[in-house]
Amino acid sequence: MATVAWPPADKRTLIGKRIDRLDGPAKATGAAKYTYDINRPGLLFCKLLTSPYAHAEIGGIDTSAAAGMPRVKAVWKDEELNEVQYVGQIVAAVAAETEEAANEAVRRIKVEWKPLPHQVVDSDPKFFDDAKNRPGKRDVGNVEEALAKADVVSQGEYGIAVITHCCLEPHGQVAEMRDGDLYLWASTQAVSGVANGLGEKLDGFPQNKIHVDCQYMGGGFGSKFNYDKWGVISAALSKQTGQPVKLMLERDTELMIAGNRPSAFAKIKVGAQKDGTVTAFDAEVWGTSGMGGGIPDQVPYVFGKIPNQRRVARRIQTHRGGARAWRAPNHPQLAVLTMSALADTAAALKMDELEFFLKNVALTDRPEVYFEELKIAAEMIGYNQKKHLRGDQTPGPIKRGLGMSIHTWGGRGHDSECDVTISPDGSVEAKLGSQDLGTGNRTVIGIVVAETLGLPLEAVKVQIGKNEYPNSGGSGGSTTVGGVSVSSRQAATAALNALFDIVAPKLGVAADALEASNGQIRQIDKPDNKISWKSACAMLGVNSLTKRGASKPGEAQQQKLMDAGVGGAQIADVSVDIETGIVTMNEMVAVQDCGLIIDLKTAESQVYGGLIMGITYALFEEAVYDPTTGRMLNADMEFYRLAGIKDVGQLKVHMMTTKAYEDRGVIGLGEPPVISPGAAIANAVANAVGVRVPNLPLTPDRVIAALQKGGALA
């Protein structure tokens, strides 16, 4: 009898090994078809008219000239819209036979604008409106008293700008209404759920007739769960024309309206004893997430057991596109605020930063984990050989420094269902309404099913990306690998046990005496009594065998199939040219735990990716808004910069894979590695140049300004 518990290390043939992702060849050869690549017969291209104003009233929208343009098949306008609240807000749309014709027609739409006052500044406390947006407050212990008693009080201002998701495949879909069904090729993080509620927006179109397909998607990072307004528009235009409609956001629109990460700024005071123990954390936090939504305010981050805490958090409303979940929502900003303030405290104490962090991990939820991970990270980067107190005293303009941060994330698997089918010809198929964002989800499912059935990976066909498959959760919050590995393990185990029941009489033993291994079904304590996988499956006769498995997170956690809560430590090594202000990455190391790893290769890729995305937001990324016009000044990829291959330095990753970690079961990994880089790099820059550069991204102008203010430049 096969059991669902994860096999012990010595029994694993695939789980935990470095395995190439199944869809690697399709992606590397251009054969993988993304939403943007779906070309249907009679396809129309849809282009949007968006607001050029950050705040305006709409008198009227006249689409008649656009509708009369050659090749234009249909126009759409938002009948209910009478006020826009950010630049880029969707107003109207055109569907035409070519992209060029659609673009040209959009320019013929006339809108009567009545501009209204706008406010896009998020960094200045003068835009607090406490009457309208009540500050959030939290008090623990007695901060005033603790600060008064502290041996050292460190005080600073910190912040990190709004950044965007900048998915390389923009948001969008191809919608095709045909014979009473709606086919939706959506670039989505939630195949099973993305169409939920869409039917209502289409005059009560039957929800069960919406067919979602997403085999490949070009990045989401938290911003692609909903059908969105563009989903409604493309479906409505398809209904109107009877033709398929492709609507993918233009790059500028993508950057302005398809999601961003809230900013966070803070004034923080930290009190500590002479030995480094932190006793008080006092923070005033603010930031924006557009007109609505929350801001990252849960400081102190990770060091939640600091005995005396106080915070006041204020949300600034801005006429900007709304925030969406951005990989590890709020954690990177909270890490920047908290770890910067703590590193400044170490500097004020003239104490080594690593020693200070090791001392204070006692104030976290998992002291042993952080202690071990920080030690390993320090070893990997040669901390003791390179370390110095704040301010590199080496003569010359190039200053080098180290900085660190630790982080946490939940990552418990989501609800997921999976069907595993074993066919008489020996083929195996796993089906679930999940999606592979590039994390290696397809491969993880294949590995789990193949391992369970004792087969090679290529024997399993993994079918994901359609909402007609068993319901599986959206990919957000590092929940996918936990969810799908448990549901596919459950399904494969159930299918295997059903096959055992059929095979057992032939082998003359009870079904619970059998195991599947190495392409055979055999008696556990007498391996020579066996039958090949193919012959066993032939005994099914003419019918395939399908079993459904489910991940129920609470139960699965109790069974140690999955768990929640990870730690991680990162250390950065940077050089700063104090004449130009340019920060260069020398090296960065990440130590990360995530329970039982299914595919070590794609798991490591998640961590490398987290480091690189983190380097990008630490050094380059910022949605720059002009207070006068209310517009985003860098809504393109020249001036909204992503790190290139030469910007990232040398990267090293260490995954915690000892038994104690593996015994916890599977835990998600997407979010945690992206949390610490901003904080670690900011601390490394401070360690190099001797002063805090308060705001991220750490652009040359900010570095120079901080050096001038700090007196480091004459």
Partner: protein
């Protein structure tokens, strides 16, 4: 290709041809009305469009004839008219390299070249470099080193890397860092990419 054009010319709209068409240069054109300029151009150089014209493109060794407006980019012609969707549209303004194709041996941003400009040239897209069952050395190395996540930037990187290793068969890590500076990835796959391209360069120039 229409009979109005000299098929030996690589594009029919070369810069030299254009300058010749507008006559003696900037002094004269400065005095000319837009209509006069158009007439001057029309006398000598080829003026095409705005309506669709037939264009023959040599892509992955095959000639493909299609009708496009002259304003259509090579990228849009590949993706929208020929269903060659390996080259991706990401920034659409020559920044990110996701649309990279090889034109006459050189990597080119196909979003920044008109389809009519590409006429008569040898175009190789990612589809021309290998298939999932028969990958080139760069593609194999990308898979082996997991130099891809969502994969949307991957075809552009694969094409750029293939052109790069052909030119730098013994490329060092530093050369790879400089040589692939024209492409961008969002998921953060550069670590695997560096290893992949160095490996591919070692393996017979990546082809």
């Amino acid at each position: 290709m229409t009979d109005k054009r000299d098929s030996s010319n690589t594009s029919g709209l070369s810069r030299r041809g254009f300058l010749k068409g507008i006559g003696v240069g900037t002094v004269a054109s400065g005095l000319m009305s837009p209509a006069g300029l158009k007439n001057a151009v029309a006398k000598d150089a080829n003026v095409v469009g705005p309506e669709e014209i037939p264009v023959t493109l040599k892509i992955n060794g095959k000639s493909r004839t299609l009708n496009v407006e002259p304003r259509v980019t090579l990228l849009d012609a590949l993706r929208n008219r020929l269903d060659l969707t390996g080259a991706k549209k990401v920034c659409d303004r020559g920044t990110c390299g996701a649309c990279t194709v090889i034109v006459d041996g050189h990597p080119v941003y196909s979003c920044s070249m008109l389809a009519v400009e590409a006429e008569g040239r040898e175009i190789t897209t990612v589809e021309g470099l290998g298939t999932p069952v028969q990958m080139n050395e760069v593609q194999k190395a990308f898979v082996h080193h997991d130099a891809q996540q969502c994969g949307f930037c991957t075809p552009g990187f694969v094409v750029a890397s293939t052109a790069f290793v052909r030119k730098h068969p013994n490329a060092t890590l530093e050369q790879v860092r400089q040589g692939l500076g024209g492409n961008l990835c969002r998921c953060g796959t550069y670590a695997g990419m560096m290893l992949a391209v160095v490996d591919a360069a070692k393996a017979k120039g990546g082809v």
